[in-house]
């Protein structure tokens, strides 16, 4: 295997592009084209240098990557669409990484595009009988895990509100986030209940968006500045016994986050102590806390105290979701994982502006997806 570096990255602003309330109406392929063009500029590359595309998307149906790239160039290169639920973006990045690491191509684009349907995200990752019984509500699955987490660790609903407040505060500094206004603890705790004890502002908002990451072998790198290497790009799917909900018998279930983190650390030779900035998976704000723990940054229950002490704030000892996370950025499923990796890239290159974590050299991005999927990208200088 050879080293794979990031050639350039691009985003469009995440928002609702529905033509309502003064917002422009845009299709996913327009957003995708914008992000890809931005990534080409950032990489100082032209379309003809791209040799293959892996494009993450969940809700768009067929040919979403084809539609997004059609606006940039039509050079006959292979385009493969990657649907892996909320892990789609990072799954696309991993495929691009492997193609370069194993010498198939030198320059590959990982893109993610999404225009989301309104309301709770529909998911096919359930048996029919489970849907008939109303189990297919992702916030409810998070609520169940949250209730256990509260029982086991002493975490409170105020703690989960703090996660939302922290991430929305970071989002104020991110011009690509859907929400660039802060919220208060009181606003979170008085927002409407979705699935007890989780409320509307404990849930990441919907959003449309696109993200693009161009990866390449070292000899093809053109952009100036600090070189960012992909230290690990891991995907774990479908571990026994943890099907979003504890159906465990006396054989302990395999925790998929721990399982994927172990692989990422072994492959990269990097451990949690080496990592200075994290983009954790905050689809529901309580989940950010056990995510940090299961990724190995502290023991179960310890994230609560660290949060209260401000450790995860910008300027804390381990900043988490520096760009606002899913909570401020919003969650266009195909693009989310790539946006997470882009923030790590910006931080390592010291290009994160007002959000900059001083001295960030190694960072980790993690996203989950129904199925289950757990994908981790570790980037290093």
């Amino acid at each position: 295997m050879r080293d794979v570096v990031i050639a350039g990255v691009g985003l469009c602003r995440f928002d609702l592009y529905d033509g309502l309330k003064g917002r422009p109406e845009k299709q996913y392929y327009e957003l995708g084209g914008e992000a890809i063009a931005n990534a080409l500029d950032d990489a100082d590359m032209e379309w003809k240098e791209i040799q293959a595309v892996f494009n993450g998307n969940v809700n768009g149906g067929s040919a979403t990557g084809h539609m997004a790239t059609k606006r940039i160039g039509m050079t006959g290169i292979p385009i493969v669409n990657v649907e892996n639920a909320c892990s789609s973006g990072q799954s696309a990045l991993r495929l691009a990484y492997l193609m370069i690491a194993y010498g198939v191509y030198d320059v590959v684009l990982a893109s993610g595009v999404e225009k989301v349907p309104k309301g709770l995200l529909p998911s096919e990752g359930w048996n029919i009988w489970e849907k008939l019984m109303g189990f297919n509500v992702m916030p409810a699955m998070y609520a169940l895990e949250t209730v256990r987490y509260m029982e086991d660790t002493g975490a409170t609903i105020e703690d989960f509100a703090k996660v939302t407040v922290k991430n929305r505060k970071n989002g104020v500094l991110n011009p690509y986030a859907r929400f660039q206004q802060p919220v208060t603890i009181e606003e979170v705790l008085s927002s409407r209940m979705i699935a007890k004890p989780l409320r509307f502002l404990n849930a990441c908002p919907l959003g449309d968006g696109a993200a693009a990451v161009i990866l390449c072998s070292k000899n093809k790198l053109k952009s100036k500045g600090k070189v960012v290497t992909v230290a690990a790009a891991v995907l774990a799917s479908g571990t026994y016994g943890q099907d979003y909900g504890f159906a465990s018998i006396r054989i302990p279930p395999t925790n998929i986050i721990e399982f994927s983190a172990k692989q990422a650390y072994e492959l990269s030779g990097i451990g949690p102590d080496d990592i200075g900035v994290i983009q954790a998976y905050d689809a529901m704000s309580s989940g950010e806390l056990w995510d940090i723990e299961e990724l190995g940054f502290c023991k179960r229950g310890e994230a609560v105290g660290l949060l209260r002490d401000g450790a995860f704030d910008l300027g804390g000892k381990l900043p988490v979701n520096t760009d606002g996370g899913l909570m401020a950025r919003s969650h266009p499923a195909g693009a989310t994982g790539l946006a997470q990796a882009i923030e790590i890239y910006r931080q390592i290159r010291a290009e994160a502006g007002a959000r900059q974590v001083s001295g960030a050299k190694v960072g980790l991005a993690h996203s989950m997806g129904i199925g289950l999927n757990s994908s981790i990208t570790i980037l290093k200088r």
């Binding site: 489970e130 109303g134 297919n136 509500v137 169940l144 699935a195 504890f246 018998i249």
Partner: protein
Amino acid sequence: METKLSSKGKIYNYTIVEQKPPAYYKGEVPYALGFVELPEGVRLRSLFTGCNLNDLKVGMEVEMVIERLFENDEGDEIITYKFKPVGASWEGGSQ
């Protein structure tokens, strides 16, 4: 190997869903669901019934009942298993 599971267990976790699910479910909203831990060591995903949903608690003893879920578009009654608190004077449905 076959193991006969008991119909009584304890609530491992639960939530009250206050938003209509994306599709398929046509029962009442809000509704309660969660995992029940059986003495054999199995945890079972289930709906809860037979009490005021706000009275549910982690660790509460519950037993299985068969109950109407809803009537589908063809007019067929769909039934399902649910769990209710042990000792609750159950008359079907939640309160």
